[in-house]
């Protein structure tokens, strides 16, 4: 009877220790959640910069111990996976705190309106004004409407559930991808931590937007594709392989109807994997053959074919949407300007007018050299161990290089948003490369030498100071990437600010949206700036004026002509909404009204709005106003009569007498 008791004691202690560790972690997760909410509350009250410090304390309260537990060799593989998923769920808190019970971020309004239309009509809407291209890639809305129809949850809660599941699955996917490639849960955990430092991860890739669903589809299609294409011993049952190939094929198909750019990245990544697998197979790379080229090429062909088909089907809207991003001559111009050749594109500063504290801005700039050093270290180390590398590592390396290649374009106004969005892919490359190299380094299997001089592993006397150094670098990248990835207005609430996304949303936008919900119908067409139109569009069934018309000339040109007013008739505009604060704080930008550049406006229509005429047109009636917004109804018969007579309908002397 005594023997079992003796042998049971260590396991009982172990279980007790595990329970204590879990309880401590739970307390830390709880405290972190409370601090993040506290930071949001402090920001909304307009508290100076105190909320930044509370936010970062809450952030590192979870990420620091979790990262340490993920990396330490005392943690089991199962616990690592568990912590990665817990980290993924925890990271939903900042976005959920910010959005609450309704869409708030720019893209969320667009996707939510498409979702509303899908649920109302039963079909994805072909054209919507809020997000032209989204209507052609309705995967996110289709999936969300599916949950809505079956569960009876509200539309917004269904949207949050889908976005949350996808966000958590993304981090878990990165973990599994690298675990499969390295057969090491520690390397996989490092990869997951690195991916969680992606600038888009905390806010942008957690919102209800198509990237949020497309990214996990991409990562899991790579997981299943690589598992399916893995070379196996002869005689191994093929059922699992066939299932994995089938799942990869389904995911690729789902991706193609969900997001354009991610489909292209998937096709390119699978083609790259197939190419490397072929080179490995032919002995060109002198590495182990880990992947079947035939299966890899089949999956790549499936992905390329489907993407090509979808892009051809969508056609012109896709060219309009992606065209400016892939304007290579402009990119070349920007790159050459860095070397003093020619002039650069219009630039903007990453932190212009930002309320971010100095330490965040410093970290944002410092993270670039830190990432470069880490990436070079990892690639260098992996090249030394290339015999066992899978094709994924080469593709990941290429994705990582793209991050640095994108930096010269990040400061160009025309490219900065596209560059920011591309970092979700570049960091996938970083995650794989740094995860694998980090795993090898921790196992003592990574070495760097220059002319027979050993650089890594470092000498014993350096090792003690290396760990705090690496931790400090991780802190710099964490702070830098969050502050670079989302503006402070996205991260925290605050006083309402016109033309600042998403701070423009407040009591007044709610008043205007409610007015439209009560008074407007699906036959109405509204012309408004890109901010206030969003709450209106999801509160009512109104249509939004398609971008590209000359409606905005009414607000901006010095003198309005009848030719410019024809847009109101041809686009069947029934309401105009105007923010009287426009132009009072900062310069007026053409893109407030979906005009991509000021240069596309007439010369007399740049910089200053001429709003007095809105109250002086015989075909426009202001029927509702808030402190700052005007809702004007178009009298279409009067407008038509004016245009037939060749007059603008402007009441003589009125603009001059009412404010010029």
């Amino acid at each position: 009877m005594t023997a079992p008791a003796v042998t049971a004691t260590p396991s009982a202690d172990l279980a007790h220790g595990e329970r204590r560790r879990f309880a401590a972690l739970a307390a830390v997760f709880l405290a972190s959640g409370i601090l993040l909410a506290l930071a949001e509350w402090m920001a909304a009250r307009g508290d100076g910069t105190g909320h930044f410090y509370v936010f970062w304390f809450g952030y590192f309260l979870v990420t620091a111990p979790v990262a340490w537990l993920l990396v330490t060799d005392r943690t089991s593989a199962a616990a690592r996976g568990s912590l990665v998923v817990a980290l993924g769920i925890w990271s939903l808190a900042p976005t959920l705190l910010r959005t609450g019970n309704h869409p708030l971020f720019f893209d969320e309004f667009s996707h939510f309106r498409m979702l509303q239309d899908l649920v109302r009509t039963g079909h994805p809407v072909g054209r919507v004004g809020l997000l032209q291209i989204g209507a052609n890639f309705p995967g996110l809305e289709l999936v969300t409407s599916g949950l809505y129809h079956l569960s009876g949850l509200t539309l917004w809660i269904s949207a949050l559930v889908i976005a949350s599941v996808a966000h958590v699955a993304l981090l878990a996917g990165v973990y599994v991808l690298v675990r499969d490639a390295s057969r090491s849960s520690r390397a996989a955990a490092i990869a997951a931590v690195v991916y969680s430092l992606n600038p888009s991860w905390l806010i942008f890739d957690a919102q209800f937007s198509y990237e949020t669903l497309a990214l996990p589809m991409l990562v899991w299609s790579l997981v299943f594709a690589l598992r399916g294409a893995r070379r196996r011993e002869p005689g191994t049952p093929t059922r699992a392989r066939n299932v994995q190939i089938g799942l990869a094929a389904v995911l690729i198909a789902g991706l193609v109807v969900t997001h354009s750019v991610t489909s292209v990245v998937c096709a390119a990544a699978l083609t790259g994997i197939a190419l490397i697998a072929t080179l490995q197979h032919r002995g060109v790379l002198r590495t182990e053959v880990t992947t079947s080229p035939l299966i890899a090429w089949c999956l790549a062909a499936w992905s390329v074919g489907l993407t090509w088909w979808r892009f051809t089907e969508v056609g012109h809207p896709l060219v309009v949407y992606l065209g400016p991003t892939f304007h290579f001559s402009q990119q070349l111009r920007q790159l050459l300007s860095l070397f003093g050749v020619g002039s650069s594109l219009p630039l903007h500063s990453a932190f212009a007018n930002s309320s971010a504290p100095r330490f965040e801005i410093v970290c944002a700039y410092l993270m670039l050299p830190v990432l470069l050093v880490a990436f070079v270290w990892a690639v260098w180390g992996l090249l030394g161990a290339r015999r066992g590398l899978t094709p994924l590592v080469y593709v990941a390396g290429a994705l990582g290089v793209l991050f640095f290649a994108s930096l010269p374009l990040a400061s160009a106004v025309a490219y900065s948003e596209a560059v920011h969005r591309s970092w979700a892919f570049s960091f996938l490359g970083f995650a794989v490369v740094l995860g694998l190299a980090g795993g090898l380094a921790l196992d003592g299997r990574l070495s760097l030498t220059v002319r027979s001089r050993r650089l890594w592993p470092p000498a014993e006397r350096w090792r003690r100071s290396l760990r705090p150094g690496i931790a400090a670098c991780a802190v710099v990248v964490a702070i830098g990437s969050v502050s670079l990835g989302s503006s402070t207005a996205y991260r925290f609430g605050g006083t309402v600010a016109p033309e600042v996304d998403p701070l423009y949303a407040g009591t007044q936008t709610t008043m205007v949206a409610r007015w439209f919900a009560h008074h407007a119908s699906a036959h109405d067409v509204v012309f408004a700036n890109r901010f206030v139109i969003r709450p209106i569009a999801i509160a009512s069934h109104v249509h939004v004026v398609q971008p590209g018309g000359t409606e905005v000339h009414l607000l901006l040109t010095l003198a309005i002509s009848t030719d410019e007013l024809f847009a109101y008739r041809t686009d069947r505009v029934t309401y105009v909404v105007y923010d009287r604060q426009t132009g009072k704080i900062g310069h007026v930008k053409a893109w407030y009204w979906y005009v991509p550049s000021d240069s596309l406006l007439p010369k007399d229509a740049r910089g200053t709005p001429h709003i007095a005429r809105l109250s002086c047109l015989n075909w426009l009636h202001a029927v509702f106003a808030t402190s700052d917004y005007e809702v004007l109804r178009v009298d279409r018969p009067v407008l038509a009569a004016d245009l037939r007579r060749g007059v603008t309908g402007l009441i003589a002397g009125c603009p001059e007498r009412f404010g010029g």
């Binding site: 709880l30 959640g33 199962a78 998923v85 769920i89 409407s145 299932v243 509702f624």
Partner: protein
């Protein structure tokens, strides 16, 4: 013997889970929304859409007996199936509603359960890591959302609105009734009525609790409803209304 029994038990387990998935899907499709039945429907549907198909599908492709990758990978595949089937339904002009979701899920669960019962050698995946991860993550979200409810972070912007659907003009008088709403402000303190151009024809002081303001004045000489007439109500901060005119009388 024990291996055989274990494999057989696993097959029975997968079959039972598949049947449960099918039953839950049917229940979700048939239960009514709202009330207690609606709550059951929500729970059942979340299991039927996000958990069971994902587990059954992920299980087929999982060689590491890892519950996390099984569940999350399988769920992402389920979402992809829904996206593809919804897209196909829309392309074939079918209405994307309950049937367009439930039928593909039923087929998916049936296929995954059949393949699962036929697949030998799939190991049991311990659920503890998955449960632990969910518990930790939920704790953080609970702390965040609980605090958020206690300390609401949405700033309330002081604002008012004015509204007038139309103005009534008789041969001699003009009347505009303005509806006022306020949120944490006493504005507008004054409303001014203009007929065509300045000077104003009526000014009304607005009390803080007043919700309806009636502005009435004689029509200025030389103006009538037959001529082009523009009425303008201007608030103290510059907000304005130019309601359409309704002519009454002769």
């Amino acid at each position: 013997m024990s291996d055989v029994r274990g494999e057989r038990g696993a097959r029975i387990g997968v079959g039972a889970l598949g049947l449960a998935g099918l039953a839950l899907l049917l229940a979700a499709a048939l239960l009514a929304p709202g009330g207690a039945e609606g709550t059951v429907r929500t729970a059942v549907a979340c299991l039927a859409v996000l958990v069971i198909p994902g587990w059954l599908v992920g299980r087929l492709a999982d060689e590491d007996a890892d519950a996390l990758s099984r569940q999350l990978g399988g769920t992402v595949v389920t979402l992809a199936v829904l996206a593809v089937c919804g897209f196909a339904a829309a392309t074939w002009s079918l209405r994307v509603a309950t049937a367009a979701v439930a039928v593909p899920l039923l087929v998916l669960v049936a296929i995954a359960a059949l393949l699962g019962t036929a697949a030998p050698g799939i190991r049991r995946a311990p659920l503890a890591p998955l449960v632990g991860a969910l518990a930790l993550g939920a704790t953080a979200l609970l702390g965040a959302m609980g605090t958020h409810l206690a300390l609401p972070a949405a700033p309330v912007e002081p604002a008012f609105s004015i509204e007038a659907a139309h103005a009534v003009v008789s041969p001699t008088r003009v009347v505009v009734t303005v509806t006022v709403t306020r949120v944490r402000t006493d504005e507008p303190t004054q409303l001014t009525l203009y007929v065509n151009l300045p000077p104003p024809v009526a000014v009304a002081l607005v009390a803080p609790e007043q919700t309806t303001v009636r502005l009435a004045a004689r029509l200025p000489a030389g103006t009538s409803c037959r001529s082009a007439l523009q009425l303008r109500v201007v608030a103290s901060n510059g907000a304005f209304l130019t309601p359409p005119v309704t002519c009454v009388g002769r």
